[in-house]
Structure formats: C-alpha cells, structure tokens
Symmetry: C2
Subunit: 652 residues, 2 copies
C-alpha cells in the first residue's frame, strides 16, 4: 500500500522556495556576474527541460489535437506594422517619476503597493492580522512596509474599491489618486510627478543606413495576421481555422521586480482562431460545455467586488456572460491544459477585463489567472479581437485580407437598371452627357420606376442639382428590370486569441508543486507531474564501481526505447543525498542498482512524494515505471504489482 | 518490387524550386504585404514543422545522446557583456558606399560578384562555357552580369587566386582590390568609396531611462559562458561537459539578398563543450575515428587552391590536420547528423578557416559547408575558442570562471621559508620592521639559502632597494625548509563550439531533396526523409461522404497511438491532385480510404517517390507504414509484405 504524505505540514515559504529554484538552477538572473539586469532571466537545465515539456504538451493539446497551422515568424518588425496595429501610439504603461531622485515607477503598481501596505498596517494595528513574517533587510530598507496605523472605516472601504478596479484607471486618474491619497515613492517617501506614457516596445534600426526603425514584437500575433492570406490558401480557403506560434516576445517593462512574473523577454504561445463573424459557434463545443470554471465577470469588478461564481461554460454562454461559444470553448480547453500540466484547479480563475482595461484591439477578454504568493496573476489571455487587426492592415496595405465563401444558395435579387444608348446620348447632349448619366445613376428604385413610367409615355424631364433641366426620350435611355445573382460572400473574419505567457505558467506551476517534508522543513520537494518533470526516472548506482556499468547501460537503453527520459546520477555522495537532490529537481521516480541487481537482476523503484521503495526484476520494474510515467497507472497500483523493499540487499 | 525512380531527368531549376517553396508556404518574405524587409523570413506550416523536426533530431543526436546541459538564455544583452567579449569593437563587416547614390554594399561580396561575373564573361567570350541561362528582368536591370569579354591569362589567374582567399582579406586590402581592378557597384557602374566597418549587432536600450544600451545577441554563446559556474556546479564540478542551446540570434546584415542563406534573424543551435586545456582527447573518439570526411585545409586555401582530401578523422588528428580529438569528434558527429536528416554526403565538406578569417575568439575553426545553387555555404561552424571567453569575462567581472580539480596524487614541493619572531622584530626595528620583511619575502630560493647560511654564522646583513642596510640575527628570523602539498589544480577550461545555422541547413536540405518527375517537369517532389518530413502520412478519403468519417477517425487515432504524425486531406479535388500537392510538401506516404475500405476493411498505401501503390488490411498497412516511418524497413521490404494495388476498387 502506498504511504500517506502530508504536504501541508509547513506553510509556504517563498524565500526557501526561491533558494531551491536558484540552487538547482531552474532559472537565475541573466548576466548575474555582471550584476544582472532587472526583468531578464536565464533558464538552466531543469528549467529548460520543464519549459520544453510544457511547450511539447501545449503543441499536443492545441496544435495537433485541433490541426492548427504552425508558424514561426520574425521578432524584428519594421515600424509601419506597429504603427498600423496601434502599438506605436498605444502600447504603453503610465509611469511616474520620483520628484527628487528621478527614479521611475509604474503608476498603477505604485498605487497598489502603497494602498495594500496601508491596509496591511491597518489590519496589524486593529489586531485583525498577525504582523507579516519578518522580511529580509533589503526589503525593509526599501520601506515597502507601512507603519501599523489604523485607518477610518471609509478609507478602508475606498482603498478596497480602488484596488478592485485598479486595472480600469486611466493615467490622469492614477495621477489624481496619487494627489488625493498622498501616495509617495515607498523607497524614498518623496512625492511623484504626473503620470506619463512610456511605450513598452524595444526600438532598434534595420540595415546600415539607420533610416528604417524597427521594433521587437511585444506579441507574436501580428506575424499571424500579416500571413493571413497564405494561411487561408494553405487551408484550402476554408474558415474557421487557427494558426499557432511559440516564440519570444519583448516588453521594455518600466521597473520589473517580480521575478518570472514580470519580465522584459519571454516565451509566449499564441493561437489566432479565424472565424466567421456571423457564426461564432464552435463545432466541438458540446465536448466541453459541461466544464465548470470559476468566473469573475466585469460587472462584479466594476461595482468594486471580487466574488466569483462556479459555472459551466455552456451555462455561461447561454446567460451571455461569455460572449460566444468559440471564446468559451477555448477557455475550457485552456483550463484542461493547465490542470493537465499540474496547476492546482483551486487556484485558477477566469477574470473578465473591464471596459478601460481592455487592449485597444479587443472587444471581449477573459484572463486565466493563477493564484500564487504574489496574488492572482494573469497567465493566459483569451481575447476576441474581432476584425480589428485584419481590417487595419488591409486598409493600410491594400491587401485583401478577406474570406471569399461560395454560397450554397446564391442570393438572387431583381432591380431596375438604366440602359443607355451611348451613341445617341453623346450626339444629343454633347458636354451634358456625363451630368445626365450621373443624375440617373444616383436615382433610387422609386425614382427609377417613376422615370420608367414617364419614358413609357414618350418623354421624361430630369433636373440636375443646380436646377438645370434635361428632356430624355426612350431612344437615349430605357429602364429595365434585371436579375442579379450573388454566389460569393466576402467577409473579414474575426479572431479569437488565446495567448499564453509560458514563464508565468512555469513559475506558478513550480510554486503549486513545492512543499517541505513533514520531518524536515529544509527538505524541499517539487511534486511535478511526470508529464512535465524535467527527468522522469533517476538511475542511481550504489557505487561508482565499474561492475555496474553494463547494468546502467542496459537500464538506460531499455527506458529510452520505452520513450522514458532518464538520467544517471553516479556522483560521489550517498544515495540519500542523491535522492534528496532529485526531489528538489522534481524527478518522480528513481531506480537503484545495487549488488543484488548484478547478482540476481533485481532493481528497487522509489516514488518521490511517498519515498516508498518497491522491488522487482529489472524488466518488471521498467514495465511498471513506464506505465507510471505515461499516466496509465498510479502509485497505489504500482504497489500492488511490486512488493515493498525492506531496505536490505539480497546478495550472497 | 519497388519501381525505379529517375530523379535527375531534369536539371535543377532554382526559379521553379523557389516557386514551389513559396506556393506551399515553406517560408515567405516577412511583412510581404508591407513590401517585405530584406533578410527577414517567416516560416509557414510545413517550414515550421520541418524546422521543429530538424531541431528535435538535433536534441536527440546531441543533447540526449551526450547528456548535455540545456540552457535557454536571453537575447537582449547589456552592452558591457559584448564590450568584454570583443563584439562591440570587432563584430563587424566591411561595407563600401556607392560614391554617387550612397547605396551600401558589403565589400567582400562586391569583389566576389564583380570578379565572378568577369570570369563568367571571359568564359563565354572564349567559348569555354555556354551563356548562362537567361535571368529574370529584374536581375538584368541590376547589371550583375558583365559583358562577354575575354581576359588576359594572368588576369584570370589573379582573379581566381583572389576568390580562393577572399575570406582572408582585411578591409583596407579589399579597398586596394577595388581600386586596382576598378571594381564598381554592379547596379550603377559607379565607383565605391573606402571600406568602413559596420557593426552587425542590432542596438537597443533597456529600461525607461535610455541610459542602458543593449544589443540583440549575434550568437547564443555568451549566455553559456556567463552561466559557466552554475553549469559546472550542476555537473557536480566535473569537466568535460557540454551545454547546449537552441534559440534566435540577430545580425544586422549590410544588404542581404540570398534568401534563407543570409538573414538578419535566425535560429541557431549551439554547443559549448568545456574541456581541460591539457587534455583535449575525447572519451568516445574511438566510436567515430573511422568516419571519413572531405577536408579542405587552410594551407591549400592560403596557396590559392581548393583541392579537398578524403580522410578519416582518426588519420586527420594523427597528422595534425585537425587540432585535437574533441574537435574531430564533433566534426564527425556533425557529419553523421547532417547525413541522417537528409543532406547529400557528396555535397558536404569541411573547410578550415584561414588565419585572418577566423573570428577574434577562435584558435582553430572548421566549417561544415554544404553545396547548393549558390555554391559552398557555411552551415555549421566548429571552433576551438580556447579559454578566450571565460578569461575575458573573469577579468572584467572578478568572477572565478575556473575548474578546481582534486588531484589524485597531491603535488608535494619543498622550499625555504622565513619564520619571523614578530615580537622581537617589532621591538628591535620599529618603523623599519615592514621594510625588512618585504626584503626577505622578495628573495628567491638561492638568496634565502645564502641568508640561511649567514644566520647560521650568527648574523646577516641585508640591503633595501634604496641602499639602507639592516643587521639580522637568528632571534628575529630563521630560514627553514618546509614541505608543501598541493591537492587542488585550478584551471580555465577551453571551449570547443559546434554552432549550427538551422535556416541554412533547412534550405540546403530542401534543395537536396527537390526533383521533378521525369514525365512532367512541373510536378515537383521533395524527397524529405520520413525522420524530418513535416507530415509522415497523408490520409486521403476518396470523397467527402460522411460514411468515411468513422474510418478516418480510426486510422488517425491508430497512427497517433503508434507515434506517427498524419494529416487528413479531404479537400474538394481529385485524389491525384491531392497527392501531387503532398509530393510538393514532402509527405512520404499516403493511405487512401475508398469504398472497399468501408466494405472490406482494406486500405491502399502509396509511396511518394515511386508513386507505387500497395494494398492490405487497415491494421496491416498501419503496421507497415509505422515501420517505414521509423526507418525499420525500406520500401522494397514494404513491397514484399503488401501486394501491389491494381487501381481497381474491390467492392460489391
């Protein structure tokens, strides 16, 4: 029987957690030996593998499952593209400057930090909450923590309302808040100036002349839109279809301080699903309609609240809370993906954007937010960009970014049409011929019918806008009823865009996976699911003796053939230390080769979370661990198949 | 029996080939609807898949096979890093300006284009070669082609010598060549100015203040070096080991015109293998020593020649042609990788860099060059960067980028050492005590022995550099022979760097894979190996009738479970057209579902190159095609297992 594990014996300790990630080189500040650069991080071997596995599962879950068309477009982008998309004018954050030091702060972050800190101080003073755990000296010096001062009731309520709608304020409104509530730079206690816009795109210059400005893309989306016609053709002209891309994007954040949660360079995965604006139903919606999500809609937030509801996406579409089936379909699929890779479903919600918060291109947007030590963090955006992007690029370039759909039933219409005898027209009216044609062409159905009646009488009189009159006769023009058949419908598709910040997902996943052993808070474990764990099986030879070499090779190659990624740890420390190290790396299983393996062909199997050990013939253990890694069986089942290991080597 | 295929019925036609790649959206100019930007390309669905498969195989062949440590480091890099690495000062190309239009050209490309064009004109005039095939109007207008003028013998010889050592000229030498041979801008026939250096890094600025210049990395390598200490620790302090990274890099090329072969943004795969400078042997060299490569060494080139030799890497190391085993090991592994993904071994050679050609950090370098319509193109560089990078970063930052190796046999040394009685020294000499100590500390072994002898006599006299004399007695100092034991060796490792340009490999692979059907030059085929083909199996239902749906799902899911990536083509055209489209996409196998499939459970299997069709029960065909895709059997064997299909549907 599998042992019980108590994962909540110790409260989450961010300092200890981050020390583990740093020690095991999941990631580290980039250019560390040069003092680092805020917002830039390098992934080490376990971080790179974890990221690769998250991406791999993303490809399977979205691209392969839904036959999406994958793209790989350039990061460097000439300025006209972002002028058209609106990013040059509007992709900006509001920043304020410390009036004395000139330090630059993001305005909304300043408001948030100071108000949250005052509320924390109020709670402390009112005995509502214990004093926060002691912070390191550096933070204290920065003065982020306010004194324990009780606030009037109305101030508490006002602060809470402001925080609930923080993302909805304009720059000038943020400035107004700073003045009204005397919000100062917490690092210096100096006042700050008026909010100013700072464009978040990194700028550069393409080619040797310096005359062609370019930007690093802040999202991969434009690369999809610019290739729309090619993608449509590749898809045999059919809509709906989706393109997908995994790649780097860049945002020159004002003063990033939140680790992997706010960075200047990041890997995104984006889907652009192109859909008929008149029909945003989704063919496979029935497969997900019963998926229940935690929803926080815009009305609740705009009224200062943060109460969520649990609702199936089917019901949410019916009630008009989620705008359409396609948007809801992707929200459900995003949920399924995040749960599959190991995100805690109890710490996942979908929050709708408020009116002013939405990006300039979006008409509706829901964020998948994942809860972590910093609060709720947007990790996936799911926006309905409508026809915005394709329309503006088409208007700027003249390219036809449209779908031409053959109508199953052609639309047949009849209307009155003027038929001219051009020769007679020219001869009779000379210079006035053009004016006469214009007058008739501008007539509506009713006027044409009247003219038709008059001509049937032999003659008609028409009048130009400046009052000149002309007589028309049937030898110059006749009005006839004609049939028109439209067999092609032309439209600009709408775009539903799920956009994933992979670094944020990776970080929150690590946080959700982390715990400390009940008996020793210093023994950290990352309970990453085998699906995404950097290494699936650790091979641990008892000692570095050469006699183990053939067995190590045998086990490695058998696991490789079974599609299981393993690593050998033959370092010069005890088996216990090697397993402890690999608990920190999130390796779910370990096999130990000892003298009994050499003599009797047995091998022990260890499970990371329980530290249970089982034993069996080498091939049997390989078969069991393969099924475990692929999720076909759980540990309890493995325990039924393999007897417990009593810790003694069975050697002669 | 498998049919014979004639792949060389038609000469390679670059225009037709590029039209195919464009039509099937392997790649296309980025920002095409905005008029494009030279040197920037987007990969469409088949190009993205092909690239992903090439990368996937690279990971298996190098990272997994050799237990390399994968990294994912940032592209945006603060200026000090590239100041230290030498890139700010030296990562530049020589450009010349058209004296009248101001157009900018790369100096070495100008020399190459004009001289090659003159030689071609000479050959034409001498009847040595037919006139080149007619070029498109745009090129003709640009005047790249010189008139058919015969040249004196010595000019022909001089031009050929210049071309053979083109990469070895400095900027001023290129300027000298332009003046001496009157080399002008072929587009305008204007003279060009003196060569000037143009730094190839894209520049930007990090953060909102504009005070922190940054560059987009031109290679991923610095990210490895800066993380060296962390990597070493992750590897339990052991050397040799290798780090590896796949990622984007950027070079602001002066005037790129060669499609995917010269671009401003590209995906690279780089390995940094850290090795003991005193022992560059490789543990696994014996596995590759018999691999025969085509080598073009630097001496041949420096004497103006281009004759290659075929030699095993074992022999090349023995003869000192390749500097060491590790370099040679990677050259052989690079060769094996390129052949595996489908590069034609007869169009692959390894060329050694000449003295002036080498990057500023390299001590030896071999390029894997792949032949294509543009000539020989560097696709992989394999350089010995020695200790350059780690040394300069350590010197600049003070970080200890070294290996500390416990010596198996401690090194024991004996030497004479002065032992002071500090108390007596201070009391006796007061302010002079420091000077006296300095004098003795600066003495070498011989002087110490003389001093020892004198002290043994009771007293010694020493002299400071400014002539002051001091008397020393044994109560102040004695000289004793002591034993020292050094158990740690400290050294800066050397780096062997295989660096892959994936876009160039992808392009040349496509060129090597392309041919036209004997019976119709317009019917192009890309014979990509199944290992890298974007889609492995095409599923073709005879018609779009609903009765095929369950079968399509069954076949798709069975292939997916077998690990074979398939696509369904149910578009509204004939089966023949669907297969022709997929021949252009490089899909190696196709299965057709017809009415016999529904009634009798049979399916036909088609092979791309031969267009042979076989038939069998659905499960049997799936088993055969799976073995084909994984390379376990070839088509001839498949033909032995499945009977030929006579083209008639066997339905009741």
């Amino acid at each position: 029987m599998a042992s019980e594990v108590n994962r909540t014996a110790h409260a989450f300790d961010k300092t200890r957690f981050e020390a583990l990630l740093n020690r095991r080189f999941f990631y580290a500040p980039a250019f560390e030996i040069y003092g680092g650069v805020a917002g830039l991080y390098d992934y080490g071997p376990p971080g790179s593998s974890l990221q690769a596995n998250i991406i791999n599962e993303w490809r399977k879950h979205f691209i392969i499952e839904e036959h999406m068309l994958e793209l790989d477009t350039t990061i460097m982008t000439p300025s006209p593209v972002f002028e058209t998309s609106g990013h040059v004018a509007r992709f900006a954050d509001w920043m304020v400057k410390d009036t004395k030091t000139g330090d630059v702060l993001r305005a909304d972050h300043l408001v948030k930090n100071v108000l949250e800190s005052r509320l924390a101080g109020h709670n402390e003073a009112s005995g509502l909450a214990a004093a926060p755990p002691s912070e390191d000296k550096k933070r204290k010096k920065k003065g982020a923590k306010a004194a324990a001062v009780a606030l009037p009731d109305e101030a508490v309520k006002e602060y809470e309302t402001i925080l609930a709608q923080l993302d909805n304020y304009t720059g000038p409104e943020l400035g107004e808040l700073c003045r009204k509530h005397d919000l100062r730079n917490p690092d210096t206690n100096n006042e700050v100036g008026e909010p100013q816009q700072f464009n978040l795109m990194f700028k550069s210059s393409i080619g040797p002349t310096g005359q062609h400005p370019g930007y690093l893309r802040p999202e991969t989306a434009q690369g999809h839109f610019l290739n729309f016609s090619r993608l449509l053709e590749f898809n045999n002209g059919r809509v709906p279809f989706a393109s997908a891309q995994v790649g780097r994007s860049f945002r020159n954040e004002i003063s990033p301080r939140a680790g992997l949660l706010r960075v200047r360079e990041f890997t995104m995965a984006e889907i652009e699903h192109f859909v008929d604006p008149d029909n945003k139903n989704h063919e496979r919606f029935s497969e997900v309609k019963d998926v229940v999500l935690v929803l926080l809609d815009r009305h609740i937030q705009e009224s200062g609240g943060s109460t969520t509801v649990n609702m199936s996406v089917g019901e949410a579409v019916e009630k008009g809370i989620i705008a359409n089936e396609t948007l809801a379909y992707f929200m459900a699929r995003i949920y399924q993906y995040l749960i599959k890779i190991g995100i805690n479903p109890e710490r996942l919600r979908f929050r709708q954007h408020m009116g002013n918060e939405m990006a300039h291109y979006a008409t509706d947007c829901w964020d998948a937010e994942i809860h972590n030590a910093s609060g709720w963090t947007e990790c996936v955006g799911c926006a309905d960009r409508a026809a915005y992007d394709l329309s503006v690029h088409a208007a700027r370039t003249g390219a036809q970014l449209v779908v031409r759909e053959a109508l199953k039933e052609p639309i047949v219409t009849e209307k009155e049409v003027a038929e001219w005898n051009k020769k007679v027209l020219g001869k009779t009216y000379k210079a006035d011929a053009g004016v006469i044609q214009q007058i008739v062409d501008a007539m509506d159905e009713l006027e044409l019918l009247r003219l038709k009646g008059e001509l049937a009488q032999g003659e008609a009189v028409i009048k130009s806008s400046d009052g000149k009159e002309f007589n028309l006769t049937p030898d110059v023009v006749t009005i006839e009823r004609k049939t028109f058949k439209q067999s092609i419908r032309e439209y600009t598709p709408n775009v539903i865009e799920p956009s994933f910040g992979l670094g944020r997902i990776l970080y929150t996943l690590l946080e959700h996976s982390y715990w400390s052993r009940e008996q020793d808070v210093e023994r950290g474990v990352l309970s990453l699911p085998p699906l995404v764990a950097p290494t699936k099986v650790l091979i641990v030879p008892l000692s570095a003796r050469e006699e183990f070499d053939p067995l190590i090779k045998e086990v490695s190659s058998k696991l490789r053939r079974a599609g299981v990624f393993s690593r050998v740890d033959d370092s010069n420390t005890s088996i216990g230390k090697r397993y402890a190290r690999n608990d920190e790396l999130g390796t779910p299983f370990g096999v130990t080769l000892d003298f009994a393996s050499v003599q009797k062909g047995t091998m022990t199997l260890r499970e990371r979370d329980t530290m249970d050990q089982r034993i069996g013939a080498i091939d049997e253990v390989i078969a069991v661990v393969t099924e475990l890694v692929f999720g076909n069986i759980n540990w309890a089942e493995a325990c039924r198949r393999l007897p417990a290991y009593d810790g003694k080597q069975d050697v002669d």
